[in-house]
């Protein structure tokens, strides 16, 4: 009986892994295709489509835009998230739980609706579509994440270190910069890298709020109009590689936190 369960489990697990990995393997495999169609039979290997992508100025500038928007919006989100998490964890504020709820509220609303709302507002206010507008939207979706991660890591042992610093005469800003930020660094980096992955991959808000200069997911979307194309596979594989790097950084900072 045990043997049967084990064998069935193995088959099932392999089938699910197969299902989960099928599209990714196909994507990367056919990005190495030598001919012009990303379909079987496989005729590679060749790196020519990666060369095409890296010499395509639309794609490379979209890639730079994406990295810029992701890093600046994540830095903003993590700064706002950190300051508010510190404020809520260390001070008693009236209506504190309600206000914390307000900060985390955007997590429950779909990106499409957040983007729509900003589009309507900016349209009324006469703010033109731009990377800045999209970046503002990215802060809206990532601020609650950064806040939640950092707030959950504000432990009591840190209060004592901060108190000790105050007793030794440090003003508030010194406590914040020289004690709390270094102590909380793993959580801050974890929040930053997680926002980076979400902003880097975000499509709907960027699609609605940018026009001429836009981010990589939107450029990829435009590429899809040309049908199946090894160029799309190559750029998709590159995006995957960057995301994996960001996730590994997130994991590493999280692991560092666990050890301390």
């Amino acid at each position: 009986m045990r043997q049967i369960v084990r064998a069935a489990s193995l088959v099932y697990a392999l089938a699910v892994y197969g299902f989960i990995f099928l599209p990714v393997v196909v994507l990367v495999l056919f990005s190495l295709q030598a001919t012009s169609f990303p379909i079987p039979p496989f005729t590679g290997p060749s790196l020519r489509w990666y060369e095409v992508v890296l010499s395509d100025t639309r794609l490379t500038s979209a890639l730079v835009n994406s990295l810029l928007v992701a890093s600046i919006s994540s830095a903003t989100a993590v700064t706002l998230g950190f300051l508010s998490a510190w404020g809520f964890a260390r001070f008693v504020l009236p209506g504190s739980s309600l206000l914390r709820g307000l900060i985390t509220l955007p997590l429950t609303v779909s990106y499409l609706i957040i983007g729509m709302g900003l589009l309507v507002l900016f349209n009324w206010a006469g703010v033109p579509k731009s990377l800045l507008a999209a970046g503002i939207g990215h802060v809206v979706i990532n601020l609650p994440l950064c806040f939640a991660i950092i707030y959950s890591q504000m432990g009591d042992h840190q209060i004592n270190i901060e108190r000790a610093a105050r007793d030794l005469g440090a003003p508030e800003w010194k406590v914040l910069l020289l004690i709390t930020v270094p102590v909380m660094a793993p959580a801050i980096f974890a929040g930053f890298f997680l926002s980076m992955t979400f902003s880097w991959d975000e499509f709907v808000i960027s699609f609605l709020l940018t026009r001429f200069d836009t981010t990589l997911p939107v450029e990829i979307w435009n590429l899809l109009r040309s049908g199946l194309n090894p160029k799309t596979n190559a750029v998709g594989s590159l995006v995957f590689a960057v995301s994996i790097v960001l996730v590994v950084l997130f994991e590493l900072t999280l692991l560092r936190r666990r050890r301390t």
């Binding site: 699910v16 994507l27 609706i113 709302g117 009324w124 979307w221 994996i244």
Partner: protein, 293 residues
């Protein structure tokens, strides 16, 4: 309620001797301000917009009444609900045994690696992942080549641009998500439950049906609710994989903006979509509470 107990650990805020009243507000105001300005205010703007006429302005309820009278708008909501329900059920059914295998059959020291592998494709770009399914499902894609090549079918099957393709793309995403939530739930269960059930004479099947499954139900419900919310609000997967054979709600919303520039109608449809999610939340929250009591 022990009044003396309150004094053992003073609240964190009072432990700060030199904090002026302005400081805590200076810390939380930027985040609160951002949320109010770029999340709450846009939402109010959208509410106002949904009550105005597309041409000429002026207040009207016609954007909402259109939804109830135009059968194609209704149909989009029906399609959305159907697809979301199918995706949620199929994803839970696929993910549960998988999460169970990872939690119970995989040796402890390999579990983290096994789980990381299972969610690795989670981190590919969402747009790219839907496109990858197109490579698999297209007329001359991997599956059709394999089927015709092996002589199982003579004509390529129509797999892309169908509801099946949309559901496949969604299930792919949510199996990973649900595996995470159910796995976490299974790992939290104390092994003593299983031992107790075995001591009382229950076989593995009965232990699972009467002990493990009910105890993991809250986790399943949370995951299923998350699936529902993310699935019904998603534009990318149905647009890339489903084609335009049947419209889902987010596609309908985007169509009002893209083709017609009709912000008021798009706003009204978004608000209706949000109302459906809120109803689902209330239904779910109530159900969960009853289960826990």
């Amino acid at each position: 309620m022990n009044p003396a107990g309150n004094n053992i650990v003073p609240p964190a805020g009072r432990a700060l001797p030199r904090a002026s009243d302005a400081l805590p507000w200076a810390l939380v105001t930027p985040a609160l301000g951002w949320t109010l300005l770029f999340f709450v205010l846009p939402f109010i703007a959208m509410g106002f917009s949904s009550l105005t006429a597309h041409e000429g302005g002026g207040f009207t309820l016609s954007n909402y009444s259109q939804f109830f009278t135009n059968p194609s708008y209704w149909q989009a909501m029906v399609n959305s609900l159907e697809v979301t329900a199918i995706v949620t059920v199929v994803s839970v059914l696929l993910a549960y045994p998988f999460a169970w295998i990872l939690a119970e059959q995989v040796p402890e020291r390999w579990q983290r690696l096994a789980l990381m592998l299972a969610v690795l494709p989670f981190w590919t770009s969402y747009v790219v992942r839907s496109y990858s399914w197109l490579l698999v499902l297209a007329q001359n894609g991997v599956i059709n080549r394999a089927l015709t090549g092996s002589g199982l079918v003579s004509e390529p099957l129509q797999l892309a641009n169908t509801r099946l393709a949309t559901v496949t793309g969604f299930v792919h995403f949510f199996v990973m998500l649900l595996t995470l939530t159910i796995f976490a739930n299974l790992k939290q269960l104390s092994p003593s439950y299983r031992k107790a059930a075995a001591d009382l004479g229950a076989g593995p099947v009965r232990t699972f049906l009467h002990v493990i499954l009910p105890l993991t139900l809250p986790g399943i419900m949370v995951g299923a609710f998350l699936t529902f919310v993310l699935c019904i609000g998603d534009y990318i997967t149905p647009q890339i994989l489903g084609g335009n054979n049947e419209l889902l709600m987010p596609q309908l919303v985007m169509m009002q903006i893209g083709r017609r520039g009709d912000f008021p109608l798009a706003s009204a449809l978004s608000i209706i979509l949000m109302a459906v999610v809120t109803v689902a939340y209330l239904a779910c929250a109530r159900w969960l509470k009853i289960e826990r009591a």
